[in-house]
Structures are given as C-alpha cells and as structure tokens.
C-alpha cells in the first residue's frame, strides 16, 4: 500500500517504498518494522553489510544514505523512502573506476583487517567521513572513526589506510 501523509498505515500492512540501492532503482513492499539492515541482508541478499550488535554499538552495519554514513540497524527502511543507499557492494562504483574504491585498495595495501567482519562498515564509514571533511589529523581520524569497532584490533592499519587516501585526495 502507498503511504499517504497523515493517514495511518495499520500494523501488518506492507507499504510500498522506493530506494536507489547502489545505483539501481527499486520498488519494495516492506513491513514498517523492517530495519534498513534487515532489508538489505535478508530481502535483497546484500550481505556485505554486517550485523554486529544490532544496537548502534559497533558500526558493522554502516551504510551511506544520501551520501551520509548511518547505522542501518537503527534505521527503519520505511522512513528512508526515496533515499539513495550505498553499501560496500556499491563502493567500487562510487569510486568511479572499474576496480576497487581507493579506500578498498588502501585497506588491502595496509592490511587494515584480520577477520574482515568489521571491514564493510569501516569502509563505508571512512567514505562518509572523508566526504564530511572534518578530520585532518590522525587524532581526528581516530575520533571520527570511533563508531567502528574492530575486535581484531586492526585500528593502526585502518587509520594508516584512511590517512593515505585522505592525503592522496582520491576519495571517490
């Protein structure tokens, strides 16, 4: 059912929303309590985005919504109707080239992971952070990236990778 401003959609009704996901326009029927994270992973099979805590405490679920980094576990899909979503699967495309996004290349170059579970969130968060443009120093990168926990403790290399991309100006 289509959403009309001011009229309630009864619980258990599926509503129609449109999202552009990694450049592809989609029309979807969702239950209002579906989080963006569950929509991406369970319905659309975009399992690059990870569920770590499901409570905003780890950053593994970070995606870009209209270019802004958000925790997709705390966002209701229905509220993002009309938005453009970029997940780790779409980062390369955002980087413009045919290969990996400059951040992905730098993560490989600097060994910025161990198990890799936090990596999609780190990458999307770093892309969002670079676009925000507030961090300049290492201290500032660390603080701006504090919303992404890495249980393998790859922080030093993650900051190295981000610093590299920041300095080269190739942020995609």
């Amino acid at each position: 059912m289509l959403i009309e401003s001011g009229s309630p959609v009864a619980a258990d009704t599926r509503v129609e929303i449109s999202l552009t996901i990694n450049g592809e326009a989609r029309t979807l029927q969702v239950a209002p309590w579906t989080t963006l994270l569950d929509l991406l992973r369970e319905r659309l099979d975009l399992t690059g985005t990870k569920k770590g805590c499901d409570h905003g405490q780890c950053g593994a679920c970070t995606v870009l919504v209209n270019g802004t980094r958000l925790n997709s576990c705390l966002a209701l899909a229905v509220m993002k109707d009309g938005a453009e979503i970029t997940t780790v699967e779409g980062l390369a495309r955002m980087g413009g080239g045919n290969g990996l996004h400059p951040l992905q290349e730098a993560f490989v170059e600097h060994d910025a992971f161990q198990c890799g579970y936090c990596t999609p969130g780190q990458l999307c968060s770093a892309a969002g952070m670079l676009a925000e443009g507030h961090a300049r120093t290492r201290d500032e990168i660390r603080e701006a990236m504090s919303g992404n926990i890495c249980r393998c403790g790859a922080y030093t290399n993650i900051v190295d990778a981000i610093e590299d991309v920041m300095q080269s100006g190739a942020q995609g």
Binding site: S5, S125, E132, T137, E140, R142
Partner: protein, 337 residues
C-alpha cells in the same frame, strides 16, 4: 520489535493529531534511541509517527540568536559555522557524544528526549520503576556505578545521558513545543525533571506535545567555555561525569559564570549557589575549588559510585580553569590540559 501503526506526518498539525489519536503513540525522528529500545521491548508503541519530513530541519536567526529546529541533526548543529563561532560549547558537547554515524542520524529533539542508559531500565527481566512503575528499582543497592549522586529519590537513581543537554543547560536555552492547545516555551532548567515519585516521567513535555525547536539566548560565551567529559573509554561512551562551563571575565575578575554537570543526575545539574560564589571573584583555582566544594557537599553516593563525588569536584575545578584560560577541552586530542 512489536507491531505498530505507521503514520508519516507532513505538517506539525498532522503530527500532533496522529499522536493524540494513537494508542501509546510515539514520535520517531532519527530512531537511534527509540528503535534501540523497541528491540529490547522497553518501548512498545502502538503507533509510530514519523516526523522526519516536517519542516523543522533548519537553524534560523531569531532576535539576534539562533533557533535550532527539532529535526536538525546533531552533526549539522555541531559543524554549523554560526554555532561553532557563537556557541562553541554546544558544538563541543555534541562532538563529545556518540559517534559520527549516530550524530548524523540523531536529531536535536530526539537528543533532548533520549532515555536513561540504566542497565535495569534496559532489561525487561529486572525491576525498574521507570520502565514499569511500582516494580521497584534494581539499581538501588544493585549495580549502580553509572548512576546519579544528585537529586535522586527512593524510586529511581537514573541519570540523563545526554551531552548536548548539559551545554544547553549552561547556555540557558529554551525549548519551544506545540500541542493541541498551541505553542509554549520551556526553559532548559525545567524541561528535564527529577525522578521523585514519578520516575516514568523524564521531562515536563506532555505526551501529546512535539518539540519544535531549541532556542539559544543571544549570549553564547564564545570567549570562555569548555565541555569536559570523563568516561570509561576515550570515545563512544557515555559520561561518568561531564561539565559544561561558560564564563565572562572582566580582566581577571569573573563577571558571569555558569556550569552544568552531566552524568550525575536525572537532568543536567546546576547549583545556583555555587555559581553565585564565582561572581565578582578572581578567576583562580581557589575560587573554583570553593564553588566545586559547595556543589559536591550536596552529593549522595550510591553503593558503587562514590568515586563520582571526587571526580565531579575535580572536573568542576578543571573545567572552570579551562574556561577561564580560554583553552577549551579538545574533543579529538583527549589529553586533559
């Protein structure tokens, strides 16, 4: 998460109407607190009223001061050039809280109305008077390291977790709200309440009222201010004790000074008597220590949080020193100077 009706409001009138008509209805903005609490079954709204499309997403000049719309995100406020130059303590306090991602989603209205982080409040399996009135308070005599040392009651010892609100209290901002009977303005000092006999009520906002904006006063104390936040880890953690301090000096003499504490009470904590002790005095450590002593003389520690009393005393002195010296605490370099 429980099942709920969903209403997307296009106007403030529609939003207020949809709230009044729905059983146990809640507004939802950034969702960073409400969705979290719904996943724990702490909040079980029958209806969610999505207010993110209301035209309350701007920071406007009003009578020589700034009015911040309820939907302006925490990030937008913190990095706004006008806020940074005229109300830097607000920008700093916001940046001390949560993370980049969370601040991008969190709104000004939602931050005001975020709920306590008391462990028992979050845990359905334990007693909590705030979550279930009359069930008791698990934190009194329980695990209460993070709890309040001021203004507690025998029903609840929770703290309000916001950093932003501590700065707004020191600035003496006002909250503009609308309800079925029109608009009203609530001073920051009266917006959050003490738990008393009704810990289920965090604020004086009525259930059918919506926050429209936070209105700042003309004076922003850009010269002398700080937000000092002390916590278990250097980022992405709630305050154990925080202090927002603002000051106006005449040479080395204090003309005006205000300070509010976070992490120690059910609301940003101020002490008028202690603030009064600063006025007309030299901006020295002795002056600040006397005011800090006065504040903590009223503290009442719980079984596990006695350390907060001394921490608060020292934090007040340090914050007032930072403000007086014009060297506010950096929110990225965490060394405390």
């Amino acid at each position: 998460m429980n099942r709920f009706d969903y209403v997307r409001a296009g106007t403030v009138e529609e939003a207020v109407k949809a709230i009044a008509a729905g059983a146990n209805a809640r507004f939802i903005a950034g969702g960073t607190n409400l969705v979290d609490l719904m996943k724990y079954n702490v909040e079980r709204p029958g209806r969610l009223v999505d207010i993110t499309r209301l035209p309350l997403d701007r920071i406007e000049e009003r009578d020589g001061a700034l009015s911040i719309g309820a939907l302006v995100t925490n990030s937008t406020v913190a990095y706004d050039e006008r806020v940074k130059s005229r109300y830097p303590v607000l920008s700093s306090a916001i940046l001390a809280g949560a993370t980049g991602q969370l601040r991008n989603a969190a709104t000004t209205g939602g931050n005001l109305l975020q709920r306590t982080r008391c462990y028992y409040f979050y845990d359905e399996g334990t007693p909590c008077n705030k979550r279930l009135p009359g069930s008791g308070c698990g934190a009194i005599g329980g695990v209460n390291r993070i709890h309040a040392i001021f203004g507690t009651s025998d029903k609840c010892i929770a703290t309000h977790p916001s950093d932003m609100c501590v700065a707004l209290a020191a600035l003496e901002a006002e909250v503009r709200v609308a309800g079925p009977s029109g608009e009203r303005t609530i001073p920051m000092a009266e917006f959050h309440r003490l738990p008393g006999d009704e810990p289920e009520r965090d604020t004086t906002l009525k259930s059918d009222e919506i926050v429209l904006s936070v209105d700042l006063p003309a004076e922003g104390f850009a010269g002398h201010h700080t937000y000092l936040k002390l916590r278990d880890r250097l980022s992405y953690a709630f305050a154990l004790v925080s202090v927002a301090a603002v000051m106006e000096l005449d040479g080395q003499t204090i003309k005006t000074a205000r300070f509010a504490l976070g992490g120690v009470a059910h609301k940003p904590w101020r002490n008028a008597e202690a603030e009064g002790m600063l006025v007309g005095k030299p901006a020295t450590r002795e002056t600040f220590a006397a005011a800090a002593d006065r504040v903590v003389s009223k503290a009442q520690a719980q079984s596990e949080n006695g350390f907060k009393v001394e921490l608060a005393r020292r934090a007040i002195v340090r914050a007032l020193e930072q403000a007086a010296a014009g060297t506010p605490q950096s929110q990225s370099d965490k060394r405390i100077a």
